[in-house]
């Protein structure tokens, strides 16, 4: 019973939304909008779950004095402090919350993002080895595309940028589309499995 009721809900609503795709009628649109507004209302409650999980995990660490428990204390402090500053002073421009967002969160996010450049460099160094014929093609293509993106490529030969854009537009795009096709089908199949109740792991447990 515990499994069946959710499953019935999933199957009925699932087929209703599939039907919505084919029915443009205002009744169908109204039903869809009504439902979407409900799902919007549900998600804020989920935040509570997230906060509870966070507090529980770090709270346990602190109470057990687990290794590095101080980090947990700092995490909880930041959580409470940021939240409280938003509740007390509001979130508009000029408030401490906005200040924290601009001066702590944004630069830290950018820092993490820029680490990507370093990681790409080291990944490229490790990956591009002419181990086999395919790997050699990959290697040459990579060098041409990299050169094609900077003025140096043009300085060497005008064919480099042109070959680079050919590589991006033809073989690259073809592969991307091929993958996209498979992904689309895979999504449809997974959705269908869920609709038909074949895939039930998301309800908890395997079968």
């Amino acid at each position: 019973m515990k499994r069946q009721i959710p499953l019935i809900i999933v199957i009925t609503l699932g087929f209703m939304f599939v039907a919505h795709t084919f029915i443009p009628h205002k009744a169908s649109v109204a039903f869809y909008d009504w439902w979407v507004s409900w799902s919007k209302a549900i998600s804020p409650f989920a935040v509570i779950l997230g906060i509870m999980s966070l507090t529980m995990v770090h709270g346990t660490k602190i109470s057990r004095k687990a290794p590095n428990w101080q980090y947990s204390a700092l995490t909880l402090f930041a959580l409470v402090f940021t939240g409280a500053s938003g509740f007390i002073w509001g979130t508009s421009e000029g408030t401490p919350f906005m200040w924290l967002f601009k001066n702590v969160q944004m630069p830290m996010g950018s820092t993490m993002f820029s680490l990507l450049a370093f990681h790409i460099a080291s990944a490229a160094y490790k990956a591009f080895r002419a181990r086999s014929a395919e790997a050699t093609v990959l290697l040459i293509a990579a060098i041409i595309v990299m050169l094609g993106q900077v003025p140096l490529g043009m300085a060497i030969s005008k064919w480099i940028p042109e070959t680079s854009s050919w590589i991006l537009n033809v073989p690259n795009l073809a592969a991307k589309r091929g993958i996209a096709l498979g992904v689309g089908l895979g999504m449809t199949a997974t959705s269908l499995k869920i609709l038909l109740g074949i895939e039930r792991t998301y309800l908890g447990g395997g079968d």
Binding site: A121, A124, K126, F128, L139, I143, V150, P151, M154
Partner: protein, 319 residues
């Protein structure tokens, strides 16, 4: 030979932190010490330049810059915006700015403030910032500008009625405001193509981050986009075009000349001759990008040599 092999073998197992260090230096040094490098102007960038330049000095032509990005992609897109604005201010092209994202609103002020510093231009006469409009009004405004800009946009960023501004003389709709350049890190330009271009025939160009540029090539191929600035590279190219043509000092003392492919091919702008750093941000950035790319290529080549040598060694040992 015997000395080289161990070196390359060491390179094979190089700690990645050395790579990080080299990449960091390859980026930081060119940014600190700009050097002169050549910028080659590609067709899509030149097309945008040519179209804007053909409006020079005309009161019945204007362009619209639509800012559809936030601060995270400023590094790539702001140099483009500044270069295009400088071009417009120098060549007396009427320019409007507009955004549908609250986060883009300060970026418009930022770009305008940088670009107008050296020029005697006035808000409401030479340019006008329409400001931030809620995204819910995106389509109504986009379509409404096909009939009457003043009516649908109503007020500018300062709250002034647009219809009363001197810049609006001779400007009614897309027939006059005939080019829209959309700056985005997304496919926002698609809506301009589908709605504004298809219905009103307005020319659409894109300023886009390098990562997203590939998505726009199909539109460029079909001519639905008149041109495109892609990433820092596009910005660097536009900066060069502005330096070569718009701000060129003619022998008779006047400033500016028309675009010509022949002139472009033979000109070579030294970065050290451009006094303001904000006017060459993209080109300096491109220097860093070039060096970083070359460094990575060098690493790849070194790694491969090492790989071959050690493979050979193994084969010899096997024999």
């Amino acid at each position: 030979m015997s000395n080289i092999v161990p070196f390359f073998e060491k390179m094979q197992a190089l700690d990645r932190r050395y790579i990080y260090l080299v990449v960091a230096l390859a980026i930081i040094i060119p940014l600190l010490i700009p050097f002169n490098s050549k910028t080659y102007v590609t067709e899509p960038t030149a097309n945008v330049y040519k179209m804007i330049d053909s409006y020079a000095g005309r009161s019945d032509r204007a362009i619209l810059l639509s800012f559809s990005h936030d601060a995270s992609t400023m590094a790539e897109l702001t140099p483009m915006e500044v270069a295009i604005l400088r071009h417009c201010f120098q060549r007396k092209v009427k320019v409007f700015t507009l955004c549908f994202m609250p986060a883009a609103s300060p970026l418009m002020d930022y770009a305008l403030n940088i670009a107008k510093e050296d020029y005697d231009v006035q808000d409401g006469i030479d340019y006008c910032n329409f400001g931030y409009k809620p995204y819910g009004l995106f389509l109504p405004i986009l379509l409404g500008m096909g009939d009457d800009i003043a009516e649908i946009v109503e007020t500018d960023a300062q709250g002034r009625k647009i219809s009363n501004l001197p810049i609006m003389t001779d400007i009614t709709n897309y027939n006059e405001m005939n080019l829209v350049v959309d700056f985005a890190a997304s496919s926002a330009v698609y809506s301009w193509i589908v709605y504004a271009r298809a219905r009103y025939g307005v020319n659409v160009a894109a300023g886009i981050t390098a990562v997203m540029a590939a998505d726009n090539y199909p539109y460029l191929q079909t001519g639905q986009l008149v041109g495109m600035l892609s990433g820092l590279k596009g910005a660097a190219e536009y900066e060069k075009l502005v330096d070569v043509f718009a701000t060129h000092k003619n022998p008779d003392g006047t400033i500016g000349r028309s675009y010509s492919k022949e002139i472009l091919q033979e000109s070579w702008i030294k970065l050290s001759d451009v006094d303001k750093r904000v006017y060459k941000t993209a080109r300096i950035g491109m220097n860093a990008q070039t060096v970083a790319h070359v460094m990575i290529i060098v690493f790849i080549i070194l790694g491969n040599i090492g790989f071959f040598l050690s493979k050979k060694k193994k084969e010899q040992e096997m024999m």
